[in-house]
């Protein structure tokens, strides 16, 4: 183990280490803590100039209530959910099938296709912007939830295919041969043998893709106009313009926007980290 395990340290250093941990954490998360505290600070206190002291009057309910009701926060939140959930399911479903195909079957162009999927991940998204926007305008889907959902499915499919193809490739091939000998069709092999085996990978990917799509801002800006289909990221960014000085409301909005992905992360931490690092070390 590196560095030297703390049990082998001098007692003084050990105590010092344990003492610095919470301090380091405090400094690291200071911006976040400040936002949390501000989100429960009352407006009067902010006008008095108490930005950083401990809040004297708590306005937890008032701030969140105001952030939720004076702007279409709930509407944005709903939009984000309606974009993100189908996008995650869609991208993972398409990528599971494509990854299965690329891992199991040998055919001409297999590697070239795989390279295309991988390469697509690294493309600067700006080069897609104008044609994608135009495409949705022509399809009549511009400024609808469909546009964002469909685009995220397509874009995330590339990343998920890379991940799932590598995962499936590491399973023993005998499983598939055994399935074929038993008379299982190709779909049954995918559905009954492979899918149950890749469940941990699917969980890891869904969490990861959820946060990617939930936090997206660029496509939300490009493919929506006004409030109709705008997700939470756009809504929160707009809060700032509406209330130039109301940092307590902006903070409340930020917390609301961050909550789902932060909660997802804490609930499914192990999967999340597995997803990040699996995709990582394979490159």
């Amino acid at each position: 183990m590196f560095p030297m395990p703390i049990d082998h340290w001098k007692p003084v250093n050990r105590r010092l280490y344990k003492l610095t941990l919470p301090l380091a954490l405090l400094v690291w998360l200071l911006p976040l803590i400040a936002v949390m505290v501000t989100s429960i600070r009352s407006t009067e206190e902010l006008t008095e100039g108490n930005y950083w002291g401990w809040p004297k009057h708590f306005a937890l309910f008032a701030n969140y209530h105001e952030a939720l009701t004076t702007s279409p926060m709930l509407h944005y939140f709903f939009n984000s959910v309606m974009i993100t959930v189908p996008a995650v399911i869609g991208a993972i479903a398409l990528a599971a099938m494509a990854g299965f195909s690329l891992a199991v079957y040998q055919f001409r162009g297999n590697l070239a296709l795989f390279a295309t999927f991988v390469g697509g991940n690294f493309v600067p998204i700006q080069i897609l912007m104008i044609p994608v926007r135009d495409l949705f305008l022509q399809m009549g889907l511009y400024n609808t939830l469909w546009a964002l959902m469909l685009f995220h499915i397509a874009f995330q499919t590339g990343f998920c295919t890379l991940f799932l193809r590598n995962f499936i490739k590491q399973l023993p091939y005998e499983l598939i041969e055994a399935g074929r000998i038993e008379g299982a069709g190709e779909w049954a092999i995918f559905w009954r043998i492979i899918l149950p085996l890749i469940r941990p990978a699917l969980a890891a990917l869904s969490i990861l893709v959820f946060t990617f799509v939930w936090n997206d801002y660029f496509w939300a800006l490009c493919l929506t106009q006004g409030d109709d289909a705008a997700p939470l990221t756009v809504g929160v960014a707009a809060l700032r313009g509406q209330w130039v000085t109301a940092w307590n409301l902006v903070s409340a909005g930020s917390i609301l926007a961050a909550l789902p992905s932060v909660m997802m992360f804490f609930a499914m931490q192990r999967h999340f980290v597995a997803g990040l690092t699996f995709g990582a070390t394979k490159g």
Binding site: T38, V104, G120, I130, P131, A237
Partner: protein, 309 residues
Amino acid sequence: MIDSVPDTPLHQPMAPAAKAAGKRLSPSARRQRRAAWLFLAPACVMVALFVLYPILKSISLSFYSWDGMTDKTFVGLANYIELFHAPTFYTALKNNLLWLLLFLLAPPMGLAIALYLNQAVAGIRLVKSLFFAPFVLSGVVVGLIFSWFYDPTFGLLALILGHGIPVLGDAHYVTFGIVFAALWPQTAYCMILYLTGLTGLNADQIEAARMEGARGWALLWHVVLPQLRPTTFMAMVVTIIGALRSFDLISVMSSGGPFESSTVLAYYMYDQAIKYYRYGYSAAIAVVLFAIMLVYIAWHLRRLLRNEH
């Protein structure tokens, strides 16, 4: 760990008989070929429609003058010529480079934090997760938090320094201010990569090195870092891509200003398209950004495909 599973080939070995028969495949082989394409088709359609086609379309658009509504006019290389004469292009390019250089601080800082946290003490799992939390936040939220942090009248920075600096309003500081904000989640990301890398270290080698008297820096440099090379590679990959893609924070914190001093190619492109309806010109900017990243994509793909053989 997932990665310790040996990479057994899953490809069905091509039967010699089928090879000899040439195009005449057995019914089962034919069924499998059909299945292969059916499984691939939906993903291929989506990627072709929303990723591949748009790339080609952007490249072709960059040779036209177009406002998005009236007819396109072919202008040859005019967009590129204009771009290479625009001062903002060079500001953007310089800022992209600055982002890249400063962003590369994230892997070493991530490693430092990972080394610091890689101890088995009570509650360390929670501490590690909390250290990672910034990465999960949206760029918009991080941007808002730091804008507030930098506010010259009542921001935290003003409080710490005792006087305000208009970080986001000053052309000299603005890019540094934004990159600093962006380093926060990026360092968290690199940290988690290194924490995972550290758990996979070869304990015997480290023990052996310790026996021979290697300590601290020497041990880190000569024994640990070489073992962490795949992790370092990955941390660099995600950091470089992150630096070149930077958009959200710039958009939220400065909108490329003041006077376009904090713009980067990605933001400049967006600005020209959305604000000025100059689609051909902004396509040209996107193509330049794409060309820069292509060097990098090609290098990465080569590495990836080499591992396949």
